[in-house]
Amino acid sequence: MTGPDGEEHPPERVMAAARAAHRMRRPDTVLADLLSDSAADPPPGLRAGPGPRLLTFGAAGVELHLQVTVHGDTCDIAGQLVPPARSAVEFRHAGGAFHHTSDSDGAFVLRSLPRTPFSLVCSPSLPGSRPLATPWTPVR
């Protein structure tokens, strides 16, 4: 399948995911920035090893620390909100969304997730805070 300028389109799987992402948009959120990624920028003096990948996102005074562990075709994500607060957590991927709630200290574990690009939306129960969305991120 080609586009208007004769360019090849990406596979349908990718197009379907892009359509799904549009349906799952959350314009009400603050989009978090990726602050660090152990896979691309390992801590000084260390090589990125086969261990879990550590990701830090942040915006508007809230940080979200994630630890992503891959098991074959699935992955687990352990997360921690800083400052700690109970939070609704939504895991978005091409196939839909999972809803979860963190504990009262803002920690959560999501298991057996599909190993595809994902985005998390956290809605912490902090006074005056807006939901925080991470950018879509590939799992590697």
Binding site: P4, P10, R19, R23, R25, P27, A40, P117
Partner: protein, 237 residues
């Protein structure tokens, strides 16, 4: 079915329309959760289909309008944007030495982030440039991550260096000649040789996909490229 037809037809007509879309716009989308909405989009496309006016090609104002509508949840506007830009993103990503699977994941990531950022784009008319930059950055980040996991054998660090200035110069000169010859190869030979040089670990199937040749032709292209390189280097001497 109608949606598919429209998404196939729209870019052609939008490329030659004078913004019939503005008039047909509905009110702002319902707030949270993507504001799913269909009817104004269909109306807009119907007008477009009926009025293929012809002097504006991919006009910036038109893109801006599409972005605005898609940001409000209009799925058809989003389909038109995807149809117009997904191929470009895919092209940028495929120009990096990535496996097919990684290229799909990265393209998907970039397009999903566009969806999420529709209402945050500062210059919606420069969406193409924005996408290309984001795609390149995402590829670099990925390559940086996969490149770091290759360790250097510790023995190599202590080996004596027996190079002299003369030998270093000769090696550099030879490298330069080969590099110049490489730039004179045509596609797909140049791609196949470059992949063999920089990513010898890739399988024949991956080389075929990246270079855009049939898998059964890879060896033949490689052989021809070698012959041509030998010829170029002989001529050059």
């Amino acid at each position: 079915m109608l949606g598919l037809l429209l998404c196939l037809l729209c870019p052609m007509y939008i490329s030659g329309t004078r913004l019939a879309m503005t008039e047909t716009d509905g009110g702002p989308a319902s707030g949270a959760f993507g504001g799913y909405r269909v009817s104004p989009g269909i109306a807009g496309c119907a007008i477009l289909l009926g009025a293929p006016v012809s002097d504006q090609t991919h006009g910036p104002a038109c893109v801006k309008e599409l972005v605005r509508r898609a940001a409000e949840g209009d799925e058809e506007a989003w389909d038109v944007l995807l149809d117009r830009y997904a191929g470009r993103v895919w092209g940028v990503v495929r120009s990096h030495p990535l496996s097919f699977h990684d290229a799909q994941d990265i393209t998907q990531t970039v397009l999903c982030n566009l969806a999420e950022n529709l209402h945050r784009l500062r210059d919606p008319e420069r969406i193409g440039a924005w996408l290309a930059t984001v795609a390149r950055n995402e590829c670099r980040r990925h390559l940086r991550a996969s490149g770091r996991t290759r360790p250097l054998p510790p023995g190599d660090l202590d080996r004596p260096d027996d190079r002299t200035p003369e030998s270093a110069y000769l090696v550099a000169e030879q490298t330069d000649r080969v590099r110049t010859a490489l730039t004179r190869l045509d596609r797909p030979q140049s791609e196949v040789v470059r992949l063999a040089l920089e990513h010898p670990e890739l399988s024949r199937a991956e080389v075929a996909r990246l270079a855009g040749v049939a898998e059964s032709d890879v060896s033949r292209v490689r052989r021809r490229a070698r012959r041509r390189l030998a010829l170029l280097l002989r001529e050059d001497r």
